[in-house]
């Protein structure tokens, strides 16, 4: 028993030591749904310019729940999200606070910030339809609605319907076409699937290359990422990128965002980082390294992205889309989309 007591105290003291080490001076703490390898170069630039250290916890899931439990003791200052529904969830759960900043208002157009200033978009990303170069070619006339058409029977690949990117797309269709119509559409798409929903957006492009399917859903920046990967460039070269619904409401666009937590202990530094993320240097890195569309007007998209041309994007307010999320999830279960 004595030994275990000694062991326990050793553990406890080392834990306390590690706890006190991050109670240092100039820093800002970030909970990130975005992968750390992408944001680290941007954070390094920020530290270089301001001397403020950036601490990051990256996780795909559970950060909001952690924030909720930690309450006013939470060390987190900022939350980085990868889609609109998480940003709205933060607001709905009362975990964030408004930020009044001229820099943010100047950098981010009104449609890409919360009217109550509780979330701010940093980049936009397009939900494209990829088509096989050999078997289908470019599809400039395509609408998302067409994916339920019998001519695509056994030809569609997608990741899980419940992935936030697909849920947001389905939500936007509920706003545009209504719930009943969207359910019919989901049934049609499911009937057209070449295989059970699986993998990520890149896997679907790979599947097109390999002949499993002819069309897939995928965000725009994955094509850029694949073209710059030795192994995946062959997949990327097998597909055309299409911007659906150009003749009507426009292509569905999602955001990646940032919010200031309600009890941010390093508020000044956090706002400084938010402003930095919305400004030229960071926006350029988002555009060049990750092939996203910067929100700040005047920051150029990467050469590759600009080669895809201008397109019309769906103007349904993002908050409307986020509101339909529970309905979209319910429909996915009802048609057993993933099963």
């Amino acid at each position: 028993m004595k030994k275990s007591f000694i062991l326990a105290s050793v553990v406890l003291s080392s834990v306390l030591a590690s706890a006190s080490s991050w109670a240092a001076k100039e820093e800002v703490n970030v909970y990130s749904y975005r992968q750390s390898f992408l944001i680290e170069p941007i954070m390094a630039k920020f530290t270089e310019e301001t001397g403020v250290k950036v601490n990051i916890v990256f996780a795909k899931d559970g950060l909001i729940e952690r924030l909720e439990r930690e309450g006013k003791l939470s060390p987190a200052d900022l939350v980085l999200t990868t889609d609109i529904s998480r940003s709205v969830e933060l607001v709905e759960k009362d975990l964030v606070q408004p930020v009044q900043s001229e820099a943010l208002e100047g950098n981010i157009p009104a449609q890409y910030r919360d009217p109550a200033d509780q979330w701010f978009a940093l980049t936009t990303r397009v939900r494209n339809v990829y088509s096989s170069k050999d078997r289908l070619g470019k599809q400039p006339e395509l609408n998302y609605e067409d994916l339920a058409d019998a001519k695509f029977k056994g030809k569609i690949c997608t990741r899980s319907g419940k992935h936030p990117y697909n849920v947001a797309l389905i939500s936007s269709m509920i706003v545009a076409n209504g719930e009943a119509e969207t359910k019919k559409w989901l049934e049609g798409v499911k009937a057209n699937l070449a295989r059970k929903p699986q993998g990520n957006d890149r896997d679907q492009v790979k599947a097109i290359k390999e002949g499993f399917c002819d069309v897939s859903l995928g965000n725009n920046y994955y094509l850029g990422k694949m073209l710059n990967d030795e192994k995946q460039v062959a997949w990327a070269n097998a597909v055309e990128i299409n911007f659906p619904n150009q003749a009507n409401r426009g292509t569905h666009v999602n955001i990646s965002g940032v919010s200031l937590t309600k009890f941010a202990p390093n508020k000044d530094n956090a706002v400084k980082l938010m402003e930095f993320l919305s400004d030229d240097t960071a926006q350029k890195i988002y555009a060049e390294v990750n092939f996203e569309y910067p929100v700040k007007p005047g920051v150029a998209v990467s050469e590759l992205v600009s080669s895809w041309g201008e397109f019309k994007s769906d103007t349904i307010p993002l908050a409307e889309i986020a509101k339909q999320r529970p309905v979209a999830l319910k429909l996915l279960d009802e048609v057993k989309f993933d099963l």
């Binding site: 275990s4 062991l7 326990a8 553990v11 406890l12 080392s14 834990v15 306390l16 590690s18 706890a19 991050w22 109670a23 703490n29 992968q35 750390s36 390898f37 601490n55 990051i56 916890v57 990256f58 996780a59 795909k60 899931d61 559970g62 950060l63 729940e65 952690r66 439990r69 930690e70 309450g71 003791l73 939470s74 060390p75 969830e89 899980s160 419940k162 849920v167 295989r195 059970k196 929903p197 699986q198 993998g199 990520n200 890149r202 896997d203 790979k206 599947a207 390999e210 002949g211 499993f212 529970p326 999830l329 319910k330 279960d333 009802e334 057993k336 993933d338 099963l339």
Partner: protein, 542 residues
């Protein structure tokens, strides 16, 4: 006569049991909160598919693991097959492989673009995927094979230890009575090993039930996926906790059934560690067949995936070899080591409490401390944050009440949360391993010791601890490896700027860039091998 345990032992056993079950209670409490009509919606639509898949997965993994582990364990314990010296530890190697990494590798191999299908296409002149049929690795069947191929060593280890502890004279008697090795196996070894097999299978079943990364990667929709979707997708912790509670009920029923099936069976043997001069004799071709069987298991679960990782690591070496490595490795090693030792101490405490405190309900602390094993890591993390968050808030309120400056998140924001999470999750493994050792000590030894005037504590030190040391070794080893591989709880509970190797590798695997994480994966596996080697040496020596 045994009931005079000191009060501190009694209270600490109960306290530990209750502490370890507290996160589970927190989850059940959440599950009892109304979840609106969401739960009903799930029952009406997808829940039965999830349940169906989960049952099939567990049955499949259980049966396949049994078919892999039991013959292997028996060959190793009883027969002199070629390469036995190497095989007996090589068969443990797959334990060091995280299932999701193995899944990623076999997907690379068996996918359309992988070498197997490419060769087939070259040979037969096929062009696209529509020209031929090939089994899809990303399926229920694929998940069963992958999970069984890395989990079967649990059963192998426990069954082999049990076979080794069986008296050779029994085998010799069987042979003298004209039984074949197979008959001797079925009628003596297998029934005698039943407790160990039951423990091994229930460990495997619970691991399978809790797996998230592999089934998610293979798009197999099981209950963990349902919990996850409900919690993350619908944002309803209540409904997610309801599903977790259901899973928990299933596990409790499984455990009860397992215990019921061996309620009257007490197996005691003498001559533990007896010299094993006489192994069963097999014909040469039988020996080679047995060896081939065992080596193919090692190849499937370790040699092949590991070689692939080494190949990837050399290809992407310059990208992967960074200074962060040493830090991540030390983090991981430290946490896993602390958890393994603590879990083993707890297992001894509650295990012996159950044996020595001969009163109704004395096994409850052991059962309580095993409950967390059934909870998927993601949900468990929330179960940890609830009580720890409460502690933190109370402590801070208290300090501030007296005008001081609160210490912040002392519990939930530090490594303590991670250690607690792992303990709740993995103490069950230690309890199972230690308990099956304790159960084999004949009660007569206790009686002798007490007759000689030893106090309970002295008896434990002089009699029990030396006899269960092998079981303790197994316990420490299993918990260490599991803690090193643990992923979902670590992702949520870890402090700032803190990565374990598993969370680091997972970033890459989840993005299908396993090549970039290969080096870190190799470190996880190699560090996991060290305790395996120590264990096999210690078994060797005994």
């Amino acid at each position: 006569m045994y009931s005079r345990l000191s009060l501190s032992w009694i209270t600490s056993s109960w306290a530990i049991g209750l502490l370890l079950v507290f996160p589970v209670i927190a989850i059940i409490y959440q599950g009892l909160q109304p979840a609106g009509d969401l739960f009903q919606h799930l029952m009406d639509t997808v829940m039965w598919d999830y349940i169906h898949n989960t049952v099939l997965l567990i049955l499949g993994v259980g049966v396949l693991s049994f078919m892999m582990a039991i013959p292997a364990a028996w060959f190793m314990a009883m027969c002199d097959i070629p390469g036995r010296k190497y095989l007996q530890w090589a068969l443990m190697l797959p334990l060091a492989m995280p299932a999701y990494i193995v899944a990623g590798i076999y997907t690379e191999l068996l996918d359309f673009a992988g070498p197997v299908q490419s060769v087939l296409r070259d040979v037969f002149g096929w062009q696209t995927a529509r020209d031929y049929w090939f089994p899809n690795i990303r399926s229920l069947g694929g998940a069963i094979v992958i999970i069984a191929s890395v989990l079967f060593p649990y059963l192998y280890l426990l069954a082999r230890t049990s076979f080794l502890e069986q008296s050779v004279t029994l085998m010799q008697s069987a042979q003298l009575l004209g039984k074949t090795p197979l008959q001797a196996f079925c009628r003596i070894s297998l029934p005698l090993a039943r407790p160990a097999i039951a423990v091994g299978l229930s460990l495997i079943a619970m691991e399978t039930l809790a797996d998230f990364a592999t089934v998610n990667f293979f798009a197999v929709n099981t209950l963990t996926r349902a919990v996850f979707d409900t919690w993350q997708g619908y944002g309803s912790l209540h409904a997610a906790a309801k599903i977790s509670t259901l899973m928990l009920v299933v596990v409790v029923m499984l455990l009860a059934l397992e215990r019921f099936s061996r309620r009257k069976q007490k197996v005691f043997q003498k001559n533990m560690g007896q010299e094993r001069a006489h192994l069963l004799l097999m014909k040469p071709w039988q020996q080679w067949l047995a060896a081939l069987f065992c080596w193919s298991l090692v190849t499937l679960g370790f040699i092949f995936p590991f070689s692939m990782l080494v190949y990837f690591a050399t290809q992407y070496f310059t990208d992967s070899w960074t200074a962060e490595f040493i830090e991540f490795s030390l983090n991981t090693f430290f946490i896993a080591g602390v958890v393994a030792v603590l879990a083993c101490i707890i297992a001894i405490l509650v295990g012996l409490f159950r044996r020595l405190h001969m009163q109704r309900g004395s096994d409850i602390p052991a059962r309580l401390s095993s409950m967390g094993y059934a909870v998927p890591g993601t949900v468990l993390a929330i179960g940890i944050l609830i009580p720890f968050g409460w502690l933190d808030h109370s402590l801070n309120d208290l300090v501030e009440h007296f005008g001081g400056q609160g210490p912040g998140l002392l519990f939930s924001g530090t490594m303590l949360a991670l250690i607690a999470g792992y303990l709740v999750r993995f103490t069950a493994i230690a309890v199972g391993a230690v308990e099956s050792s304790i159960n084999k000590i004949p009660p007569s030894l206790d009686m002798v010791s007490r007759t000689l005037g030893h106090s309970p504590v002295k008896m434990v030190r002089k009699v029990h601890i030396p006899l269960i040391s092998k079981g303790c070794f197994t316990a420490v080893l299993l918990v260490f490896i599991e803690s090193m591989k643990e992923l979902p709880a670590a992702l949520i509970l870890r402090p700032f700027n803190f990565e374990t190797l598993a969370t680091y590798v997972y970033q890459f695997v989840s993005d299908e860039m396993i090549e970039h994480g290969a080096l870190a994966a190799i470190v996880i596996i190699l560090v996991g091998l060290v305790p395996l080697i120590i264990l096999s040496r210690s078994i060797e020596r005994h």
